[in-house]
Amino acid sequence: MRYLPLNKDDRTQMLSVIGVDSIDDLFETVPKAARLDGLIDLPTHKSEQSVEQFFQRLSNKSTPAGSVPFFCGAGAYKHHIPASVDHLIQRSEFLTAYTPYQPEISQGTLQTLFEFQTQVALLTGMEVANASMYDGSTACAEAVVMAHRVARGKKSKAILAPGLHPHYAAATQTLASTLSIKIDERECRMGRDDNVINHIDDDTSCVVVQSPNVFGEIVDLRPIAEKAHAHNALLIAVFTEPVALAAITPPGEQGADIVVGEGQGLGVGLAFGGPHVGLFACRQKLVRQMPGRVCGETVDANGDRGFVLTLSTREQHIRREKATSNICTNSGLCCLAFTIHMSLLGDAGIQKLATLNHEYACHLADVLDAIDGVSVENETFFNEFTVRLNKPAADVVQALADQGILGGVPLTRLAPDGDPNLLLVCATETSSEEDIAAFGSALTEILS
């Protein structure tokens, strides 16, 4: 076996040092009834070549986003990732390191986390950020639990605005369901979010608002923040596309207390949904209630600057049943990828990237809106928006797929009770004019 360095002689010698006769002797603490004889009924070892061929064959059975005109968004976004990002994250020193518990020999990971936290804080317009969560949806759920914790049991309700990504709402429901948090989830429908404001009361610990929301509409958070703060509730702002924040007023400037979202769009690929990277930022005063890992600056014995994991008194390995959350990993390598992509872009780069995304989306909206049987529903949008079709969107998407076009996500894929004729579409810098034209003609034909 190519991965196992011991050979027969080694094993014999080692057993003799241990003072046992056979490997079986090392398993004698296992009850006899539970000891397996022979091999489990699975194939035996395979060469690298044959494993590779197996996966190649399966890979060929899926349609990669990059191989066709592609317009899916709704929480995962296709962007061009510079080759150096994937090169760097594959370096042994990053890829095969553990959580940086020994800071003296983990400054590579730690300094990167510090840069990451700063980038997230800047992008969201917030004061501090943690070192990432599993993904945007779990970050959202943890934010609601955190708000509940901040309210110290005095408030029982969390309000989810109607434009929140249904998966985020569901993940939040799940996590909150076992705690005494009442989730007031507004029906997921296209439209203005004003009505959220009317549900905020003194029993509200937080209100969760996504912008751009799942329909692509940009939401003005200011009035919601005002109302929430008046009732001593927190505004949790959510986003699913980090590139959007380079184009729109960041939630931190609109009064958000916690900002959570998905970072996948930068540095991390689609990967059929994971791993992605959850971003989590909040006001400085809330930092000790913030879940997840945090990296902080300090000095070493010589007085040189260095970085360590810190604020661990909130964490499960210290606080056990009193921890802020049970989370003990972050999305380390994805947050490295995010950080490198952000570093490459810089201020000028990400703003230009955002502008291009917006322009392609505007062009796509124009093309689609001109088709009979299609109407763009958004008043505003960044790089994705919602169209109403004259047929069920799921059928149309399947028909497009049969023609080799991945033409967006039907709302019903996310919300089975949602309007069946709504389709969420997205354009990024990877959507060429030819792709958009191909989408337009195919759609015209299918709807006619």
Partner: protein
């Protein structure tokens, strides 16, 4: 050599990404356009490359040497797995594109499920949990859902050994349970007297929801009373959650399903070697027993009649719901399946045996100069306490830092809590006898040095590392969690 932060290197107008010029179309952002600079530094590509390559060299890694972190399982990460994970049919597929266009990805999930269920002898597996702790959540949520479904919502007490990972009690609480600790006996295992006292005669209708037990446990020992524990908990109407963090000591030799386990998460990043990546991403698929499987979260893959695959994305009334957006960490599914297929049933068993052999070899080779916490052979990790350092002035932390100067990553220290000054060493099956012999030699010479009174070299350690010991207290007292422009430094230090 210190490496500046990117914020100290870059200038706003530079960029490492070339993009076509925008055309200046009218905006449809409404009145929401962001004003002003974001504050991000601009770096060219060569500057960025160099920054991160240099930073990387400040890390220790499994590719550089022994990384004996007990309970973390730092083993070899084959590059084949990286290659297959990057194939476009997995890496470049959108989670919401039509399932007809993602059949290959779904098939990987299906085959992976088959391997996990077969290795565990369990009838179901939920793939979506994104890490071990998320898998714990999944298992405990399923238990809670089953209890609620059975109208047993008074069953809220969960037994947790005092030596458990901190995540276990944290998870139990996050699922709305109360935690009742069970002590360990002198042999490092569950104190059966105490456990029986809690459970015997409790009856199906007791307030017991279940037990969370790590096996092999955090002392590196197999819970030899596990069959009785399972039956006691089942008799009390509770469910058996097994923390699978140490499943790598059992794969191919013991199946959790044969132990009476109702739910167990599997750390793909430990047992099946998806890279730890400096702290994630992990993946924590959770196998479930017949009693729990109907309560599994969505989404999951099902086979269709035509031999294809479909996704169930909407929960029925029994499912406890959804744990995250999309379908879990596909990138870890491909890697871990490639790992399993490469080993095969024979290789996985051999890997388990080698891991246990290596740990026992280390324990046996060091037991004369260090003090083993418990008598007898161990499973996949060797646990020492700090009795051998008594009176030397050297503490476990110092010993760990001195290992850095020997060229090694320290072992896990001060865990498990049941052992004073614990040092938990897990070599894994990836170490050759030659590497282990060198490692043992280094550990021996450190132990002898400590006993010879050379305390200073321990207190000063590490010397041969990019930085000397870091002041963690200062970091926690005045947290500086982000860079701020020089003028604002005073504020940030608040």
């Amino acid at each position: 050599q210190a490496e500046n932060l990117i914020f100290e290197v870059g200038t706003p107008e530079r960029t490492g990404v070339d993009l076509p010029e925008p055309k200046g179309r009218p905006s449809r952002l409404g009145n929401h356009a962001r004003q002003g600079q974001i504050g991000l530094p601009g770096l060219s590509e060569p500057e960025t490359m160099r920054h991160y390559v240099r930073l990387s060299q400040k890390n220790y890694a499994i590719d550089l040497g022994v990384y004996p972190l007990g309970s973390c399982t730092m083993k070899h990460n084959p590059r084949l797995n990286e290659k297959v994970a990057r194939m476009p049919g997995f890496a470049d597929v959108h989670p919401l594109q039509p399932v007809s266009t993602a059949q290959g990805a779904l098939e990987v999930m299906s085959v992976l499920s088959h391997w996990l269920m077969t290795l565990c002898n369990m009838p179901a597996v939920a793939l979506t949990p994104k890490a071990g702790a998320h898998g714990e959540l999944c298992g405990m949520m399923a238990i809670r859902a089953r209890l609620d479904h059975d109208g047993a919502s008074h069953k809220r007490r969960v037994l947790v050994p005092e030596s458990a990972h901190g995540t276990n009690p944290a998870t139990a609480v996050q699922c709305g349970f109360t935690v009742d600790e069970i002590p360990a006996n002198a042999g490092g295992r569950v104190d059966m007297v105490a456990l029986r006292a809690k459970l015997e005669g409790a009856g199906k209708d007791s307030d017991i929801a279940g037990i969370m037990l790590t096996n092999p446990n955090t002392c590196g020992l197999f819970e030899s009373d596990i069959l009785e524990i399972a039956s006691l908990i089942h008799d009390a109407g509770g469910y058996f959650y097994c923390d699978g963090a140490n499943f790598n000591a059992l794969v191919g030799r013991v199946r959790p399903g044969d132990l009476g386990v109702d739910a167990m998460h599997i750390n793909l990043h430990k047992t099946f070697s998806t890279p730890h990546g400096g702290g994630g991403p992990g993946s924590g698929p959770t196998v479930l027993s017949d009693a729990l499987k109907d309560h599994a979260p969505v989404p999951y893959v099902v086979k269709t009649e035509d031999g294809g695959f479909d996704l169930v994305e909407n929960p029925d009334e029994k499912s406890f719901g959804r744990m995250c957006a999309f379908h879990g960490n596909m990138g870890m599914y491909t890697r871990s399946l490639a790992y399993m297929m490469s080993h095969g049933s024979d290789g996985l068993k051999q890997a388990t045996e080698d891991a246990v052999l290596n740990a026992n070899y280390v324990q046996a080779s060091l037991s004369d100069v260090m003090t083993t916490a418990f008598e007898g052979t161990c499973m996949h990790e060797a646990l020492f306490d700090d009795r051998f350092l008594k009176g030397t002035g050297v503490e476990t932390l110092d010993f760990a830092k001195a290992m850095i100067d020997e060229g090694y990553h320290p072992m896990t220290m001060y865990f498990p809590l049941v052992v004073h000054g614990a040092m938990l060493i897990e070599p894994t099956e990836s170490e050759s006898k030659g590497e282990l012999d060198r490692f043992i030699q280094s550990m021996r010479s450190l132990a002898l040095r400590a006993q010879a009174g050379m305390v200073e070299s321990f207190k000063n350690a590490p010397v041969y590392a990019p930085l000397r010991r870091l002041d963690e207290t200062q970091a926690a007292r005045k947290p500086i969690l982000r860079w701020t422009p020089p003028a604002d430094v005073a504020e940030a230090a608040e």
